[in-house]
Amino acid sequence: MNFLETEDVVKQYSNHLALNKVSIQVPEGKIFGLLGPNGAGKTTLIRIINRITAPDSGRVMFNGRESRPEDIYQIGYLPEERGLYKKMKVGEQAIYLAQLKGLSYLEARKRLTHWFEKFDIMPWWNKKLEELSKGMQQKIQFITTIIHEPKLLIFDEPFSGFDPVNAERLKQEILELKAAGHTIIFSTHNMASVEEICDNIALINRSQVVLSGNVRDIRNQFKSNTYILKVHSDEIKFLSNEMEIPSEWNTFSFRIQKTEDGISELYIHKEKEISNSELLVSLASKINILSFTEKIPSMNDIFINTVSGSNTTKA
């Protein structure tokens, strides 16, 4: 079941169309990656989901029905541009923000104490925000985003500003939230993290959804029958000169991708009709195969291909 859907959402600003009939489906309890180059309209879409701005047309469905004003208490939003009150004490500030999200004072303090202890930051409680480092401020901001245990969490570039150790910790925290049943929308430019944690994605380019679906399906869909073969470099000559290529294999081709420490990595492209076993048999007669794997396109490649592809067709 989809926890959140947008249906043909359109948003027009005075000088440009920010969103053009954008429809996304975010399944319940999954991590949904909202991808797209800068200025594609991601932030506008997130603001519409958050009810910060209203769409010109189209609908936002929240938990199976049209989104209502009180739904914002079920949403936790971590914007890309972080910000808290610099002069306000950390604890006081966190309680204030939690109260704005509908928690009572006592409940807010109880939950915050729990989270502050979990992150080992209780000593910061009475410090002013400006006394903390940027990474510390990010932690506070993360806690204030999830403190009201919203059903839907929206993280816009959550890892920016974190060192690798804390980024890993944050990732685990996000996966835990998913395991606890929260639905998460995750917007980022870091494609590696998309592969790691996202279940589904939507790629927005130039105000439109150009690609969407399950991450594994999308990557399979973008497969190009390319295989990666590792051999000793001095054996490559057997491949090029003496290999018997069956006549029906006319589309077989390979190229040397890189050579390192006497081992070469070859990209082999073959037709679908040829099975992997047939290929391996003919290769194995000539050379010593170190490794053979199918090349699955990275989200990074897919992103770049899709975005630059759709840009050139339009241009």
């Binding site: 005075s14 910060i52 010109d56 939003y77 972080r82 910000g83 610099k86 306000m88 923000l97 704005l100």
Partner: protein, 440 residues
């Protein structure tokens, strides 16, 4: 609604607990009291050094006239001026040299000194000589009892002003008291709208440049955030006015008590009221019958009505201008950019202040009446007119107009605010800002 409450509470508590607020709230009345009393007190202090003034009078007529005062000792001298001029050690501070009959030749008297002659000494000598010369001149006319005639013809006229109320009852009024009271109220309202309006703008810009705005408006409506801020800061302003009122009263009456020495409870109440409402100290220092007159005049002023109106106009005027300031603050990121947008508001405010000052001379004239109806000027100009007992219907119309306009401005500003707080980058023009009102 309880979200607005939370925001109001935060804005209020944060600002009231600031050191600068506490400092200004408690120091300003001290400063105000000091401004009134220090000059008074200083003028009471005489220099402890007694200076010698030597009189070289060739006529011998004038020298005996001078009596020693607390500050100056006059000594008759037969010495030579030249001799004194060249003397090394000068015990004598100044020399009065009189060389002839002053009635015939007014230039015959000169005061010499090595130092700057204090104004007090010059006055003292002028007084003594002119009084003597006047008497001498008068007696030269040979009219009997002339002195007495002149004394009796000195008339100090102060017209008694009476105002009829609706039933035709007489009320003693005082144009002076009313105008001083009106002016004070005008300045207070002007100052507070400027101070606290600017504070609203600062607060809005702070949230925008801090980028906390996006987090907050994902929890509360922009309108609630804006109103919460305006109301919270408005309460800070009211708190400050209230504390200043109390502190100033306590300080002024306390000081008067110490300075006045003998005071009966009735006097004290009288001085308290006078001080609180006028800061007019001279009145209390005058004769008892003067006191009762002041009391009567003060009683003739309807303080309840003025108080209620002051609060109403304060709320209306502050809300109207604070909403404008909030709209401006939402559209800008840089402190430097604010000047251009504040200009029109400043012009309006300063115009109101001047209209108020000119209205003082004619509180029922067309300028005063019109400006006390126009919502942008009425909070300031009406303050001048209030102590003059203006008809209730005028106040009702003016207040209704003010509140209706304030609501309209709040509505428009909220629209601008909602769009503005999320706009980063280019500084918008006023035309663009007005366009935002129409955004969905």
């Amino acid at each position: 609604m309880n979200k607005i409450g939370l925001i109001v509470k935060r804005e209020y508590l944060r600002r009231v607990s600031k050191k600068s607020f506490i400092l200004i709230t408690f120091l300003a009345p001290l400063l105000f009291a000091a401004l009134v009393f220090v000059p008074l007190w200083l003028s009471g202090i005489k220099g402890d050094e007694v200076k010698k003034v030597a009189i070289i009078d060739t006529t011998g007529k004038y020298a005996p006239l001078f009596k020693n005062t607390d500050e100056y000792i006059f000594i008759n001298s037969n010495g030579n001026l030249e001799q004194y001029r060249t003397a090394k050690d000068k015990e004598v501070f100044a020399f009065l040299n009189i060389t002839g009959d002053l009635l015939e030749n007014p230039n015959a008297a000169t005061l010499y000194s090595e130092k700057q002659i204090p104004i007090g000494l010059k006055k003292e000598i002028d007084n003594v000589l002119s009084k003597y010369l006047k008497d001498e001149k008068l007696s030269s006319f040979n009219i009997p009892n002339l002195n007495k005639i002149i004394e009796e013809s000195k008339i100090n006229f102060d017209i008694k002003t009476i105002k009829w109320d609706a039933e035709g009852n007489e009320k003693s009024t005082s144009a002076e008291v009313a105008s001083i009271l009106g002016m004070m109220l005008t300045f207070i309202i002007y100052m507070f709208i400027m101070m606290y309006g600017a504070m609203v703008m600062q607060g809005v810009m702070e949230e925008k440049t801090n980028r906390i705005i996006e987090v907050i408006i994902s929890s509360v409506k922009p309108f609630d955030l804006m109103m919460g801020k305006i109301i919270g800061i408005g309460f800070v302003g009211l708190t400050q006015v209230f504390l200043w009122g109390i502190l100033t009263t306590v300080l002024v009456s306390g000081t008067l008590f110490f300075m006045g020495g003998s005071t009966t409870p009735e006097d004290l109440m009288n001085t308290q009221m006078a001080a609180q409402n006028l800061g007019n100290i001279s009145m209390t220092a005058q004769a008892p019958e003067m006191n009762t007159k002041v009391l009567e005049i003060i009683n003739s002023i309807n303080f309840t009505q003025i108080g209620i109106c002051f609060i109403l106009y304060f709320i209306g005027g502050y809300t109207l201008y604070a909403a404008l300031f909030a709209a401006i603050g939402s559209a800008l990121e840089q402190q430097e950019d604010t000047q251009q947008f504040m200009m029109p508001i400043l012009v309006l405010m300063i115009f109101s202040l001047y209209a108020g000052i000119y209205s003082m001379n004619n509180p029922d004239g067309p300028l005063a009446v019109w400006c006390s109806f126009i919502p942008f000027t009425s909070p300031i100009v009406m303050m001048v007119r209030l102590p003059y007992d203006i008809p209730i219907w005028e106040i009702l119309i003016s207040v209704s107009l003010l509140f209706a306009t304030a609501l309209l401005i709040v509505w428009g500003s909220a629209k601008i605010y909602r769009v503005g707080i999320l706009m980063y980058g280019k500084k918008p023009s006023i035309k663009e800002m007005l366009k935002w009102i129409k955004y969905k």
